[in-house]
Amino acid sequence: MKTAELLAARQSQWNELDSVCAQLENDRWRRLNGTQVSRFAALYRSACADLALADAYQLPPNTIQYLHRLVGRAHNQLYRSRTFDFAAWTRLLLTDVPRRIFTDGCVQVAFAAFWGVFLISAYLAASPTLWPDYAEHALGHEQIQAMEDSFSEPIAGRNAKYNPLMASFYIYHNTGIGLKCFAGGLLVLPGILITVFNAAVLGASFGYMARPDVPAGVNFFHFVTAHGPFELTAIVLSAGAGLRLGLSWLRTDGLTRTDSLRKSANETMPVMGAAMVLFFLAALIEGFLSPSAAPYVIKAIVAIISSGLLMFYFVVLGFPRETEL
């Protein structure tokens, strides 16, 4: 058969496929019924066959290009993006992630880096003799003043209508920092810098507030106790996940750099998901319980329970098991 006849014979089917594609592209919520779907698939397959035989048919280059684009568009409508599988996520969060964290060296390094810098910074800020001006240098005069002002009065429960506002502010602000730690980890250095910087500032604030000559200190610890465990763990987790991402293209274990990156992306994204859950929980506690007038005992109990939950999650759920699969 000569090309002209072939084109005349096939053109109507290509046009039909083209118009179905256009319909599907323009209306995302449109669903085809059974016969339409099978018709669409049949049209797509025959266009695929035409493209495969294009050389044998001696189709003109223009027509081949047209077919490439048409098959491409139909392919994208037939194979659509898959949305989130929440059941699989729960499984992932409760079994895979804790085990991965338990054995992940990067999380341990991030843990050591964060808490090491935190403790050193806190000790320097608290000690009145070692480096008396350290807190001033690290935090700046204005921030110290602002902190002392905001914690100058005992925490007696603020107007409850501000609680949701503050909770969502903490979600916005703290989770944002966590995501930056994670994304910055891809380039290794920015991730470490963001993590260490946050550790130093937090450590300096804690240390300064622990000084006996700072009257606001009591109220400060009254405020931070309840949500501390979740929030600080979440920062460590996001930094660790970012570090793993960044190291994966430096140490590839025999894979190509891109493959190694891709593999670690699949592993670290769920860890970051766990960190985000912790940030959300911390923000809820920080927004509702921490500023309330509840006695310190209750806040301490919440801190102990949340630390216990974290221990359970990391150690009991995360302990490596022999019987995999």
Binding site: K2, T3, A4, E5, L7, Q11, W14, N15, D18, R28, R45, A49, L51, A52, D55, Q58, P60, P61, N62, T63, Y66, H68, R69, L70, V71, G72, R73, H75, N76, Q77, Y79, R80, S81, R82, T83, F84, D85, K161, P164, L165, S168, F169, I171, Y172, T175, G176, L179, K180, F182, A183, G184, L186, L187, P190, T258, L261, R262, A265, M269, M272
Partner: protein
């Protein structure tokens, strides 16, 4: 499929990429370069800004009208958080790899093997956009407070260094951005000149045209009507000078007419005899 060297070189020029489907067909996509993706990004940025302002106005109005503004601000903050980090990820998940900006410019995110992306990849590649903005330049020198100017160096350099124009986020997730265009079908060129058909009938009966030559013929004849007669003669001369002696035709034959006749013979007329009958 065996490709000759010329096809391979036009490929790298055209920035297309081959994809093999589950149907065992290989077809090509056109990759999206920075000049389509940056405008699309700015459209998305503008849309986010508009939503942000509209929400802000709605929040302040509801605060003034009903009171309870604190709850409204809380919701606004949450929306802001979602829009800042998850706008692209959620849209690409639920709109088959497209945000509004990508849709306007006919772009789509796919996995590098041509398969659709999943939600995790969509979210991850958008979170990692933060890295593209780096390194940040602090504006503290200019008394602008804690503001920092994103230089976007990583976002610009990374796509230049790989074949598929992938950002860092794309590299991590194994995704790429392709152009999805609607093209209009090209019909065979219509040649109504009787002289051409006569010439086609005079060509040797056992004439076979190679693939390469048939591609050249189709490209020339389909574009011929946009060219002036002088230009046609100029272009057709290159092939005509070679073909005329090969086909043992007199040198007086018009080169343009010869190419058209060969085109008719290759693509349109079944055999020399039928062609004669047709004329």
């Amino acid at each position: 499929m065996v490709r000759d060297a010329s096809a391979a070189s036009t490929k790298s020029l055209d920035s297309t990429i081959d994809v093999v489907t589950p149907e065992n067909i290989s077809f090509e996509y056109e990759l999206a370069g920075p000049f389509r993706r940056i405008p699309a990004y700015f459209i998305d940025l503008a849309i986010r800004l508009v939503i942000w302002v509209v929400l802000l106005i709605a929040v302040s109005l509801s605060g003034m009208a009903v009171g309870g503004g604190e709850l409204a601000i809380a919701i606004w903050l949450l929306c802001w958080f979602v829009m800042e980090w998850f706008y692209g990820g959620l849209l690409e998940t639920y709109f088959n790899g497209q945000t509004f900006g990508k849709r306007m410019f006919g772009l789509r995110v796919l996995r590098t093997d041509g398969q659709p992306i999943n939600g995790l990849q969509a979210v991850m590649r958008n979170i990692l956009r933060f890295v593209d903005m780096m390194p940040l330049i602090s504006l503290q020198e200019f008394e602008a407070g804690p503001l920092a100017l994103p230089t976007c160096m990583f976002g610009l350099l990374a796509p230049m260094m790989n074949r598929r124009y992938q950002r860092l986020g794309d590299l991590v997730c194994g995704t790429m951005v392709v152009v999805e265009e609607r093209r209009w079908a090209v019909a065979m060129a219509r040649l109504d000149d009787a002289a051409i058909h006569r010439l086609a009938a005079e060509l040797p009966g056992n004439l076979t045209v190679s693939h390469k030559l048939s591609r050249a013929l189709a490209t020339y004849v389909e574009r011929r009507r946009y060219l002036s007669p002088l230009r046609r003669a100029e272009i057709a001369k290159h092939l005509g000078d070679i073909l005329l002696p090969q086909l043992k035709l007199p040198t007086s034959v018009d080169h343009d007419g010869l190419l058209c006749a060969l085109y008719v013979r290759t693509f349109v007329a079944p055999t020399a005899r039928e062609a004669t009958a047709h004329v």
